[in-house]
């Protein structure tokens, strides 16, 4: 007898069995439990029942198969129908998320919970701050085991927008992550988002790839210094080089403002002094901008021949583009 079959709380429900299998499930005890629970869920969904036993049943199924999309959706609709405390649900979701790092249904579920909770606290700054603190604290825990988890970062951006977290503490928490791993591209990307989408000064609708006159000069200087410090720490790390280019573009500043800096990591006069292929690449673009095509060509040739031969065709194309211009 199955767990639900013998439970008086489920007496009134006739499970709906799966109809594309041929009894193969019976061979595995664990699969038996799963099949039984799913049979009861199908019956519950068909009857559109929203009750506390549905919450128990979905906990059970999710513990066996957290990737089952429909189960999460049905659980969310039940929680809202029952007015089940959101905070309590979030605490349970935390445990499931920590045990299932690759799962993304959890993050969509969490987003539904926050969307549902938000209107009830939106005019209470203390409650909002409390929510922001507990959410960020939990995300920090998630990042402890995988600081590049795409679903978690996507959720974090949702949260920043929802609770307007374009602030110093958000920047600080990114810096903490970069201190642990300066090559964490996700953290660099999030920093760019926080700094350059801040509604306080960023021009509304300004594309990530576009010059924005709204960005204060002091802020640009600060971001340039931040990326430079990271490059000193690890010169062959493409994230801060990309970041530096992005900042210069946002500020409408030419690459040439960083010639001295980039030359620290690559000298075309002596090939032995190249500490970073990204520096060579940066210099090639810079020299091209300044009309020094011969120097640019030499840098690109070095990249194709010696420092990044796997992409030789790309560097050769860049050389040709120099000559065509």
């Amino acid at each position: 007898m199955g767990k639900y079959e013998g439970d008086p709380a489920w007496d009134d429900v006739v499970p709906i069995p799966q109809d594309d299998g041929e009894g193969a499930l019976a061979q595995i005890a664990y699969a038996d439990e799963y099949a039984e629970a799913m049979g009861y869920l199908r019956a519950i969904v068909a009857a559109k029942e929203h009750s506390s036993r549905v919450l128990d049943l979905t906990v059970e199924i999710i513990s066996m198969n957290p990737a089952h999309y429909t189960v999460w959706l049905y659980r969310a609709s039940t929680i809202f129908a029952l007015d089940h405390p959101i905070q309590q649900e979030i605490e349970w979701v935390n445990e499931v998320a920590l045990d299932n790092e690759k799962n993304y249904q959890i993050w969509h579920h969490r987003q539904l919970l926050i969307d549902h909770l938000y209107p009830s606290i939106s005019s209470d700054p203390v409650a909002l701050q409390k929510l922001a603190n507990s959410e960020i604290a939990f995300l920090t825990l998630m990042f402890n085991s995988d600081s590049k988890n795409y679903h978690v970062w996507s959720y974090r951006q949702y949260l920043v927008r929802k609770l307007n977290l374009f602030n110093a503490s958000e920047i600080k928490s990114i810096e903490a992550l970069l201190k642990v791993d300066v090559r964490n591209n996700s953290a660099w990307s999030h920093r760019f988002f926080i700094v350059f989408s801040n509604p306080e000064y960023a021009t509304p609708g300004s594309a990530a790839t576009a010059y924005d006159p709204g960005i204060p000069d002091a802020l640009l200087d600060c971001e340039i210094e931040f990326s430079k410090a990271a490059i000193f720490e690890a010169p062959q790390n493409q994230s801060p080089w990309n970041y530096l280019r992005g900042v210069l573009r946002k500020g409408g500043r030419p690459l040439a403002t960083q010639e001295c800096f980039a030359s620290e990591f690559a000298k075309i006069e002596s090939e032995e002094e190249v500490k970073s292929s990204h520096a060579l690449d940066f210099l090639a673009d810079l020299w091209n901008e300044e009309g020094e095509t011969e120097k640019a060509d030499k840098a690109l040739k070095l990249l194709g021949d010696k420092y990044d031969p796997i992409r030789k065709n790309y560097w050769e194309w860049r050389r040709k583009a120099l000559k065509a211009a």
């Binding site: 799963y34 959706l73 350059f196 992005g246 790309y314």
Partner: protein, 345 residues
């Protein structure tokens, strides 16, 4: 189609010849064996991906030159059994309809040349037609007319992947006019990042998989012109690591599935030659189990149908002899998309 991984382990080549070969017949038997593994728990736990799995398996067989290796009649019957009254398809019978299983269902039906059967026997068909239109209406209703994005289902999860999925299926059904294409294109444009890539939403980190979906959607929309190809090509070509494989983001491990996401993206912007194709082919071949069939994410891991199709599709983009040419936008044989859509530039 089972999504159960293994039994094979990649790199299982007892005697490695100088020139590694693609184990075509082993891969065909591997795919054919997948649906017989119903006694494994994983078969049931991956039920929510079954329609996608069938698409991955069938596409693999087509690329391997064995389109008839799965029974056509049963394939059609399975797909139609997963359709809901709304016109959308679930991942398996009894599952709710979802955009991702719907696009797989449409791709499968196109591959086995059964769109007429969908029209005459699918939900909403009356007097031998109407089935196709209902599917189109289901997908079109998932578009948010304020933002241009698509939801995956009626519950509202949004993602650039879904724009691609919607465009893919609608264009194959010749029903793209049912949605607001320019608005969706604007949304994709807003996902462009400072490093040249695209993310899942505005401001989200660049990711090779998301880039693929953005470029494919723009290609279908006829708007690939809005991409900064040089900047994006630079970022995409940087995904190749020393071992020859490609990663999805900077400082991440290479993985066979990115052989598809990255190489198809490079192909769509005309820059595939910017990476070292020979090294990439060698990397993919080193991830196959040449005895039991199947391809894994990396050598030493268990094979699965997802990595098998994207490994084969990557090799096909590289022009590997013995494989059918693949369409970089649809991940289906080129001759099939040409049959349906005509020859595209």
């Amino acid at each position: 189609m089972s999504l159960v991984s293994g039994p094979g382990v990649a790199g299982n080549t007892s005697s490695l010849p100088n020139e590694i070969q693609l184990a075509i017949s082993a891969h065909v038997s591997y795919i054919q064996s997948l649906d017989t593994r119903r006694d494994e728990l994983e078969y049931w736990l991956t039920e929510h991906l079954r329609m996608n799995g069938l698409y991955w398996g069938l596409t693999s067989l087509h690329l391997l030159g064995r389109p008839d290796a799965l029974p056509r009649h049963e394939t059609i019957a399975f797909v139609l059994s997963c359709q809901k009254d709304s016109g959308g398809f679930g991942a398996a019978s009894g599952h709710d309809a979802h955009l991702l299983s719907t696009v797989s269902a449409v791709q499968i039906l196109v591959m086995v040349d059964a769109i007429d059967e969908l029209d005459s026997k699918g939900k909403g068909s009356e007097g031998g037609k109407g089935g196709v239109e209902l599917v189109g209406n289901y997908i079109a209703a998932l578009q948010d007319r304020m933002t241009g994005t698509f939801r995956g289902d009626e519950f509202g999860e949004e993602d650039t992947r879904f724009i691609y999925a919607g465009f893919n299926a609608l264009s194959l059904l010749h029903l793209l006019h049912l949605v607001d294409v320019p608005l969706a294109v604007l949304f994709i444009e807003s996902c462009a990042n400072f490093d040249g890539g695209y993310g899942v939403a505005p401001g989200a980190e660049s990711h090779s998989g998301q880039i693929f979906t953005c470029l494919a959607a723009l290609t279908i929309a006829g708007r690939i012109d809005m991409v900064n190809k040089d900047k994006l090509g630079r970022w995409l070509s940087e995904r190749q690591v020393e071992a020859g494989g490609l990663n999805g983001r900077p400082e991440k491990l290479e993985d066979v599935c990115y052989s598809w996401w990255v190489a198809a993206s490079l192909t769509m912007i005309g820059k595939l030659h910017w990476i070292d194709g020979d090294k990439l082919a060698k990397f993919i071949l080193s991830c196959q189990d040449t005895e039991n069939g199947g391809i894994a994410d990396r050598a030493g891991d268990m094979v699965d149908v997802f990595h098998t199709v994207f490994g084969l599709a990557g090799l096909s983009l590289l022009g590997w002899e013995g494989l059918e040419p693949v369409d970089p936008v649809y991940c289906m044989p080129k001759k099939i998309t040409e049959r349906v859509l005509g020859t595209r530039v």
